[in-house]
């Protein structure tokens, strides 16, 4: 089976975002255009050079992509919308990469845009499918995981909450983040309890925003005279969905383990080589679970490593240097694309006071309800 290393090399050449924020009167068209224009400027690429666009969104509805992109010029490029719950943006990114990797396109756009309306239909339709029915919402699901994890490994609720302290500290340095305020452990623990020991600041806000990433072939970098020194290579981009796991095995962790293992293998990179990671930290407990699942450390060890500063900026591997979902926020469509933008910023050495020193290899990870998991591995080749 072919992997990215067998196909045309793919490079991220431009990134752009609209700040993630609480729902406002700003139209989704303006959110999207802000991100795309910033990416085009960053790449020094003109819109007509873009040959396809994959638009990740959950809430915007039919044909949102064209509604946005027509205002950049109706060039006739291929436009498609992709929805994969929280992994919509990640999936849009993978599809844009595949366009270039296949040699069918030279330049492709991945755009994620969303507004914070309540989800309807699909996976969350009101048919009762479990005994507690609508009682087990995502926050309760992850509070259940936190209960099992804390009991199994003797980890305290405070140790889990420290993920929020780290990520809000990072978010405070990020002008694109919804939450830009440093929080103490006390602030986090005393905030409104939602389920179990998970308080409001341990859960991501879901607002609005947009993120855009341009990918191109090596041929296009030459033809368009792009700055090769700022081009970031996409080594792999993998998408998987949930399987049936043995009783008692955590589904979310198992899905992440399988997806990350495949992405790292296809990239020819080991977990220990990763310098930066953007992970699906919608709830604090998730960051610990997924770091262990991806092989950054052994089961039950992530909280101790966090306390030792290993996942902080300037630590062994910067995890959620953008602020993660917890501080950036999680408008559903954009997040996966925004993660790639942050990884690229870090690998290019352009992350300012959020910079992970010497960052060369990064990984972006998202999960989506259903469940699906998308992992991409990137390297900056100087």
């Amino acid at each position: 089976m072919a992997t990215f290393s067998d196909l045309e090399p793919v490079f991220v050449v431009g990134i752009g975002l609209h700040r993630y924020q609480r729902g406002s009167d700003i139209s989704f068209v303006d959110l999207g255009l802000t991100a795309v224009r910033e990416a085009l400027t960053d790449a020094d690429v003109e819109w007509p050079a873009v040959e396809s666009a994959h638009v990740g969104t959950v809430h915007l509805g039919m044909a949102a992509g064209r509604s946005i992109l027509r205002h950049l010029g109706a060039t006739g490029l291929a436009v498609a919308q992709v929805e994969n719950a929280s992994a919509s943006g990640s999936t849009a990114f993978r599809l844009a990469c595949l366009d270039v990797a296949s040699g069918t396109r030279d330049v492709a756009l991945a755009l994620g845009v969303d507004k914070p309306d309540l989800p309807r239909g699909g996976f969350l339709s009101p048919e009762v499918r479990s005994l507690p029915g609508a009682r087990v919402l995502p926050v309760a699901h992850f509070a259940l995981l936190a209960d099992a994890y804390q009991q199994r490994h003797g980890v305290s609720a405070e140790q889990v909450a420290m993920v929020a302290v780290k990520n809000h500290e990072n978010g405070a340095l990020n002008p694109y983040a919804q939450r830009q305020k440093v929080r103490t452990l006390d602030d986090v623990m005393r905030d409104a309890p939602l389920a179990g020991s998970l308080t409001r600041l341990q859960c991501c806000p879901i607002g609005e925003g947009a993120a855009a990433v341009l990918v191109a072939s090596s041929r296009a970098v030459n033809r368009l005279g792009l700055d090769r020194s700022r081009a970031v290579r996409v080594l792999s981009s993998v998408l998987r969905s949930e399987e049936m796991y043995p009783p008692g095995q955590d589904h979310d962790a198992a899905l992440t383990a399988d997806t990350a293992a495949q992405a790292l293998a296809e990239a020819g990179v080991s977990a220990s080589e990763l310098d930066v990671i953007e992970v699906h930290d919608a709830f604090t407990i998730e960051e610990l679970l997924y770091l262990e699942a991806m092989g950054l450390c052994g089961p039950g060890e992530a909280a101790g490593r966090l306390a030792d500063g290993e996942w902080s900026i300037a630590g062994r591997c910067a995890v959620s240097p953008s602020g993660g979902l917890l501080a950036m926020g999680h408008p559903l469509g954009p997040t996966g694309v925004g993660q790639v933008a942050e990884i690229c910023r870090q690998l290019r050495g352009e992350a300012g006071d959020r910079q992970q020193p010497g960052a060369e290899v990064g990984l972006a990870h998202m999960v989506g309800v259903g469940a699906v998991c998308a992992v991409s591995v990137l390297r900056h080749e100087t």
């Binding site: 048919e127 009762v128 499918r129 479990s130 005994l131 507690p132 029915g133 609508a134 009682r135 087990v136 919402l137 926050v139 309760a140 509070a143 259940l144 995981l145 936190a146 209960d147 099992a148 009991q151 199994r152 409104a192 309890p193 939602l194 389920a195 179990g196 049936m244 009783p247 008692g248």
Partner: protein, 148 residues
């Protein structure tokens, strides 16, 4: 939707007139039983009852038979919900994950005081709990820890 026929659902009422709030999912028997499916091809039991096909082996609906699942099992996790945007039920309430002795792992409502600590591995069993906002014998299926 599940393939439970009306006969199956109506037989769910108990002799003293209690009726399950979700008759497609469980009955109001003593002890209460849950409605599930068993795949004849691979033997997997599943809940909730779904006739679209076997999630384990992909066998078609003709291979899925209706079964009653016992409501004894082992607790894998529990948590108290403090804030809940839906109208019903009023928080705080407790939910959990139970590995049923008959096979499936299911999310459940736990009939215990909020913020009670329950160790992973606690043995639990199904109990019928009247819906507090209805006074007509309607009952929900919840789980409670076995007596020590």
């Amino acid at each position: 939707m599940s393939g439970v026929d009306e006969d199956e659902a109506s037989r769910g009422s108990s002799p003293d007139g209690r009726a399950p709030a979700e008759p497609t999912l469980h009955d109001a028997g003593d002890p209460p039983l849950m409605h599930g499916r068993r795949c004849r091809a691979c033997g997997t039991c599943s809940f909730p009852p779904d006739d679209h096909g076997c999630e384990r082996c992909g066998a078609p609906p003709t291979q899925l038979e209706a079964v009653k699942l016992g409501t004894t099992g082992t607790l894998l996790a529990s948590t108290t919900v403090h804030l809940h945007p839906m109208g019903h039920p009023r928080p705080p309430f407790v939910v959990g994950v139970v590995h049923l002795d008959d096979g499936p792992t299911v999310q459940v409502w736990l009939a215990i005081e909020p913020s009670t600590f329950l160790p992973v591995g606690t043995k639990v069993h199904g109990v019928l709990v009247p819906r507090s906002d209805e006074d007509n014998g309607t009952v929900d299926l919840a789980f409670a820890p076995d007596a020590l």
